[in-house]
């Protein structure tokens, strides 16, 4: 499989300003050196606690935010462009190749536009000015996400959360993008609706050869949809592996703790949940050494001094832990 997107050393710092003159007194290192690749046609999940920088990574890739450093190499039509180096104006023609599905199905649709206009807007902006042609394509897209085309003239307020999310997906698909960045696309929905939307996304991926970057905090959702998983902690990737391997045998203590927190579907079976002590590290003032050491039950002295790098310990398995090779950690066995 070919590489669609390669992120290398991505950093995004937000300045902390204080006082009348708004002087910069510090930096929040929301993303601090993140590297990964996404292959064409796969789903890469980006998971982590809230505040770990997963949303910032996704917004940097889409260039809704300008990265502070790093490269975002995107392959379109046989050539590779570094999105991080482009200016706003240069980005506009490239935007059609990657689209986003938002977390909040309420705020992501303009309440003052009818559904037909919402889905048709990307088409209009990108040169499909013929009204009839646009209408036809919108009807096609609505059918694709299993919404009756008769709802074309309705306003978002008339739809349920799940239906709204379908509208958001149809809008993202309008321009036939290669990459879809889905920022927690189901976490605002009812559990009963979540499965429908996830199945729709998987179905669309099959039919349209889509590539997903799937941002989530819910590991049970991720397990269902993703080919590979990247776990983030305080602005860095701590582990990246194939989904099966990561779930069965995590190599990073943080991944282990996250997995142990996932609820077990079998009633009565006690989960031996690892409760993380203390707060998540402050990205404006991260601890020395490994950022996870204050909460890690396997931490040693060297973890407090030496910062681990993300390295490939086995083919396709990347871990950022000094003790990755010594520890034997608990995964969750496949319930099936």
């Amino acid at each position: 499989m070919t590489t669609l997107l390669e992120v290398r050393g991505l950093r995004k710092y937000f300045p902390i300003r204080k006082g009348l003159l708004r002087r910069v007194v510090g930096q929040v290192r929301a993303v601090d050196g993140v590297s990964f690749t996404i292959r064409k046609g796969e789903t890469l999940a980006l998971v982590g606690e809230s505040g770990c920088g997963k949303t910032t990574v996704s917004r940097c890739i889409l260039r809704a935010l300008a990265p502070s450093a790093g490269a975002i190499n995107f392959s379109i039509g046989g050539r590779t462009v570094d999105l991080a180096a482009l200016k706003r104006r240069q980005l506009r023609p490239l935007r059609r190749h990657m689209q986003m599905v938002f977390q909040d199905p309420y705020s992501s649709l303009n309440p003052r536009m009818v559904v037909g206009d919402i889905i048709g807007e990307p088409l209009l902006i990108n040169g499909m000015t013929d009204r009839a042609e646009r209408r036809k394509r919108v009807a096609e897209l609505m059918e694709l996400v299993q919404l009756p085309a008769a709802y074309l003239n309705r306003f978002p307020h008339a739809f349920s959360g799940g239906q709204r999310q379908r509208i958001g997906i149809a809008r993202a698909l309008a321009l036939n993008p290669e990459l879809i960045v889905a920022d927690e696309p189901v976490s605002a929905l009812d559990v009963s609706v979540q499965a429908q939307i996830l199945n729709l996304m998987l179905d669309l991926q099959d039919r349209l050869q889509l590539t997903y970057l799937f941002v989530a905090h819910d590991l049970s959702v991720v397990k269902h949809v993703s080919d590979r998983v990247a776990v983030m902690y305080v602005g860095r990737i701590v582990e990246l592996a194939e989904t099966e391997a990561l779930y069965n045998r995590p190599l990073h203590p943080y991944t282990e703790a996250l997995l142990s927190a996932a609820p077990t579907p079998v009633p009565g079976v006690a989960s031996n949940r690892i409760v993380l002590e203390r707060e998540i590290a402050d990205p404006a003032n991260p601890p020395p050494g490994c950022a996870f050491h204050p909460r890690c039950r396997h931490a040693q002295d060297r973890c407090r001094q030496q910062t681990p790098e993300l390295e490939e310990v086995e083919p396709g398995r990347w871990v950022s832990c000094l003790r990755a090779r010594e520890l034997s950690l608990q995964g969750i066995a496949d319930p099936a």
């Binding site: 809704a64 935007r95 992501s108 303009n110 807007e121 902006i125 003239n153 306003f155």
Partner: protein
């Protein structure tokens, strides 16, 4: 979030369908319609503006015409029916009485004399929307010398208060409108620039707003009004006062606009448009402005009464418009002294429309704001 929508039961399918394709404007209107007080206030405001347009038509006597003999005549009630019960409106005529001390001829109401009234009667000449005419809603039938119609009485100089009140309503209400337009323009422009450019521009504009808002208004108005040259015409003073008032009033609107811009910029649908490749102009005019137009309308309807009150207070204090201009403030100026009030309490009638309009605007603004933003 949309509790008021989902909680609403649609009795039949067609209504649900109607609701589904309802625009935000329609939804706002449906919510506004349920606010009875605001609806009534809306009607009152509309009536007042209708009255302002037709001011000269509704006036009965030239509001500038002075007559020493008709000074301080008490309100003259209109009788609509005569003894037989026939609809023949009339007013009682005036009687000249020689003051035994000063030998001055003073006109008072004579209940024994009648002057009949006529609709669409000729009176003083005025121009209505560019048409020169002398037709007034009511006037005297065959007026004789000394006859007059003084619905609300007269002031010291013998000018008819009713007619003056009509013209004053026009002046005071339009000053509000023009003033709000100017401050709306300044507010949207500076608030928008402040939010979109951010950084130093934002800081400078926000600090200017704080400085402007921290100035005590009365001394500032006093200074500015004193700076207006005496030689200016009534019209020039009128516009100068409007500008002075709106120069202070734009700050509120600028803050509302800036806040709305900043919060909308974080909305996902704005980011979706940007990610689809929309231009900055399209994002601002297609997505952001329509989203807070209703808030601006509500803010304007709350800013208008403040403007009207400003003009009225300024003129009352003698700092705003000056005679021969006629405005609510100037009419109230006549009612300043206790002596006048004891002699001619009807002069206080000019306060009634001020109170009515301000209250109506406030209720209307409240209703509009609730209808436009049921969550905030």
């Amino acid at each position: 979030m949309f509790g008021f929508i989902t909680g609403r039961r649609a009795p039949q399918l067609s209504k649900a369908e109607r609701f589904a394709v309802a625009t935000q404007l329609q939804l706002t209107w449906w919510r506004f319609r349920r606010h009875k007080l605001a609806m009534i206030s809306g009607v009152v405001v509309l009536l007042f503006y209708g009255l302002a347009i037709a001011a000269d038509f509704l006036a009965t006597t030239d509001p500038h015409a002075t007559d020493a003999r008709t000074s301080y005549i008490a309100p003259q009630p209109i009788h609509f029916f005569d003894e037989d019960g026939a609809f023949r409106p009339y007013v009682n005529g005036l009687k000249g009485v020689r003051d035994p001390k000063t030998f001055k001829l003073i006109y008072t109401i004579d209940p024994n004399r009648r002057t009949y009234l006529q609709f669409f009667a000729p009176g003083y000449r005025y121009s209505f929307l560019g048409i020169e005419t002398d037709i007034h809603l009511i006037g005297l039938k065959n007026p004789q010398r000394g006859d007059g119609i003084y619905i609300l009485g007269t002031d010291l100089l013998g000018r008819d208060l009713w007619s003056r009140l009509m013209v004053a309503t026009r002046v005071s209400l339009t000053i509000g409108l023009i003033g709000v337009s100017i401050s709306l323009f300044l507010g949207v422009l500076l608030g928008g620039v402040s939010a979109i450019y951010g950084g130093v521009v934002d800081t400078v504009i926000q600090r200017v707003i704080e400085v402007v808002r921290s100035m005590p208004t009365i001394p500032l108005w006093l200074g500015l009004a004193a700076a207006l040259p005496n030689s200016w015409s009534v019209m020039q003073i009128y516009f100068a006062i409007t500008i002075i008032i709106s120069l202070l009033a734009w700050t509120d609107l600028a803050r509302v606009v800036r806040g709305k811009f900043l919060s909308l910029r974080e909305e996902d649908f704005v980011m979706a448009a940007e990610l689809a490749g929309a231009s900055q102009g399209r994002i601002i005019f297609r997505h952001m402005l329509p989203s807070f137009a209703s808030h601006i309308i509500a803010a304007v309807s709350l800013a208008l009464p403040a403007m009207i009150i400003s003009e009225t207070s300024l003129s009352f204090l003698g700092l705003g418009l000056r005679p021969p201009a006629i405005s609510w403030g100037i009419l109230l100026q006549d009612a300043q002294s206790i002596q006048t009030l004891a002699l001619a309490p009807w002069l206080l009638a000019s306060a009634v429309p001020v109170i009515l309009v301000i209250l109506a605007f406030n209720f209307l603004g409240d209703g509009l704001r609730d209808a436009a933003d049921p969550y905030g």
